[in-house]
């Protein structure tokens, strides 16, 4: 029985292990957010497992769609990172955001050379940041879809894992309660110190 339990534990442990180093993954950060109704929340699209700074592979372009529950969240906008080029500089990148009721689709294509991208990008960074507004009480999952990530030469980068996120809207008192608990903890720590 104990052997079976150990085996099961091992299997479960393997399942929850993070992706192997070097395997490219895409995730939404933070994985969980708690906000009050009417508040805004920023969600980052982060990539990791690329080549170290100065070496391939680098990201030359990407398209990522983030699905959400439109009854709970409203899409406010998106901003792009600067490691495919400066988004405000027409000579460096092309960006596009296409939002529907339940899907925010982002695309960015770098106009920089492969060597410039290799020099610019570390092994992991934030591709873009999306901003949502909480519309009603409840938990909305944010799911990644239509993911296409290109290397510097226009070839697909294999994404080993995709991780979404969840945004929970709670009543304001609860939010205050959380804040109060936090303050209490801080105060106790100060008292002990």
């Amino acid at each position: 029985m104990k052997i079976w339990l150990r085996a099961l534990t091992c299997i479960l442990g393997l399942l929850v292990l993070p992706p192997l180093a070097g395997a490219t993954s895409l995730q939404l950060l933070p994985a969980t957010s708690v906000v009050g109704v009417g508040d805004s929340v920023a969600i980052q699209i982060a990539i990791s497992g690329l080549g170290a700074q100065g070496s391939a592979p680098s990201v030359g372009a990407f398209e990522v769609a983030v699905g959400y529950d439109p009854s709970l969240l409203g899409f406010e906008g998106a901003s792009f990172g600067s490691l495919l080029g400066d988004p405000s500089n027409l000579a460096e990148t092309i960006t596009d955001v296409n939002a529907t009721a339940s899907l925010a689709d982002l695309a960015e294509v770098s106009l920089l050379s492969p060597a410039a991208l290799d020099a610019l990008q570390p092994d992991g960074f934030v591709l873009a940041t999306l901003t949502f507004q909480s519309l009603a009480l409840g938990a909305s999952s944010l799911d990644l879809a239509n993911v296409v990530v290109s290397d510097a030469f226009g070839k697909p980068l294999a994404i080993a894992s995709l991780s979404g996120a969840e945004v929970s809207a709670v009543p304001e008192p609860a939010a205050f309660l959380g804040l109060a608990v936090g303050l209490l903890v801080v105060r106790k720590r100060l008292a002990f110190a």
């Binding site: 592979p57 372009a61 000579a91 106009l111 050379s113 060597a115 510097a152 030469f153 070839k155």
Partner: protein, 424 residues
């Protein structure tokens, strides 16, 4: 014509600059130049014409000169190069070099100098396919360099040879200029037909690296009737110079749009040394996206079954004549790939391609995606996909023309007032 001449005589204002820009753009688009006799040692044909830095006019690093060698004839071409570059030249003909024995020489001397007692900086007899010539020369001085083509006996480049006695022989002279660091390099995962690196239409010079077990694939959109040349030069591991192919034994082959090997489309030791080079014609009905494989000589199946390498190489690929290939990436059909084309592809992401000739579908997978957009950024005519130089024509000042009568009236009134004051 007269208007063009008068424009050319004017000081260097915008119309003149535009004319030059258009001429250069046209030269860059075709990358093919025709010989113009007489072009002896003292009167070489400039490539491009008018003379300009080679890489400014031929941004992809390659140009093809079509010429004819007659009995007692020597052909000279002038190119403007910079110190630190690597000049690679190769001659091809329609018979694999079996019936014509050429010599090619490279000279650094003033354009009009014609002194047969001055030897070339470097020359080659049979480095290319058959008896044809090929060589790589490190450029140690900036300025005008000459490339001479003659018969193999003519070591002094005066026309003392016996080639073409049965009639003129046509040839193609491929000129490639490499830089360090290189302008174009192979990607890290171009090891299958599906992952071939797409080269710009017309061809390009690309730096690659071959290791044991490695196969490099490149893709080129070709049209029926195109004449393709491939020249592979291995590089010295200690300096930016050709290694002569004495230690590295390569094999190259073309695969057609269906992935099938092309008849007479492979080569092992075309030269120099054990290196490969190849000239291929695209048969009628066979145009499309061809793939070129580079591997070690043992690897006849191009699966990576070889022990050659590691070494770096420069691969010069050209495609000339024939019908126009599918104009990939030039979405707005203005003859130039720039930011506007990349943006159009980005905005069309997710849409199905309209067909195999859809210029937005650079990778030919049937769907428009950011992969196509990114691939097309590597086909742009300018760095960062900047648009071409302004076209000749209206520049904006003409928008003020409707104001001309008002300005004239105002000037007359001002003039009248000043005269009135003088009268008082």
């Amino acid at each position: 014509m007269n208007m063009l001449r008068s424009l050319a005589r004017r000081p260097p204002r915008w119309p003149c600059a535009c004319a030059v820009a258009v001429a250069l753009a046209a030269a860059a688009a075709s990358a093919a130049v025709s010989e113009s006799e007489p072009n002896g040692r003292g009167a070489p044909n400039p490539v491009p014409a008018p003379i300009a830095p080679f890489l400014t006019s031929f941004g992809q690093g390659v140009a093809v000169v079509t010429g004819t060698l007659a009995a007692g004839d020597t052909d000279f071409y002038a190119v403007e190069l910079s110190a630190g570059q690597l000049l690679m030249v190769g001659i091809f003909d329609d018979r694999g070099g079996e019936l014509t024995d050429t010599r090619v020489g490279v000279f650094f001397e003033p354009q009009t100098q014609d002194d047969s007692s001055v030897p070339p900086v470097a020359s080659n007899d049979d480095g290319g396919p058959g008896f044809l010539s090929r060589l790589a020369v490190p450029i140690d001085q900036s300025g005008l360099w000459k490339i001479g083509v003659t018969g193999f006996r003519d070591t002094s480049f005066t026309g003392a040879h016996l080639e073409a006695l049965d009639g003129p022989v046509s040839y193609r002279l491929v000129i490639a200029v490499g830089t360090s660091p290189p302008a174009r390099v192979e990607s890290s995962n171009n090891d299958s037909l599906a992952n071939a690196d797409l080269l710009p239409a017309g061809g390009a010079l690309v730096r690659g690296s071959l290791a044991p077990g490695d196969v490099d694939f490149y893709a080129l959109d070709v049209a029926d009737g195109d004449d393709l040349t491939v020249s592979l030069f291995d590089l010295d591991s200690n300096a930016f110079a050709g290694a002569g192919g004495e230690r590295n034994d390569t094999r190259i082959a073309w695969f057609d749009a269906n992935g099938a090997p092309v008849a007479d489309g492979a080569n092992d030791d075309g030269g120099p040394g054990f290196l490969s080079n190849l000239e291929t014609h695209v048969p009628a009905g066979k145009g499309g996206r061809w793939r070129l494989a580079v591997s070690g000589f043992r690897d006849t199946g191009f699966t990576g079954n070889h022990l050659d390498g590691p070494f770096d190489y420069e691969l010069a690929v050209t495609a000339a004549s024939g019908a126009a290939p599918v104009p990939r990436c030039d979405v707005n059909s203005d003859g130039f790939v720039d930011r506007a084309d990349i943006q159009a592809i980005t905005l069309a992401r997710g849409q199905p391609a309209t067909g195999p000739s859809d210029p937005r579908d650079a990778d030919g997978d049937g769907t428009i995606s950011v992969l196509d957009a990114r691939q097309c950024t590597l086909q742009c005519g300018n760095a960062n996909c900047a648009p071409p130089a302004p076209h000749c024509g209206l520049v904006g000042i003409e928008l003020l023309l409707p104001l001309a009568p008002w300005l004239a009236r105002r000037a007359r009134a001002r003039c009248g007032r000043s005269i009135g004051w003088e009268e008082r």
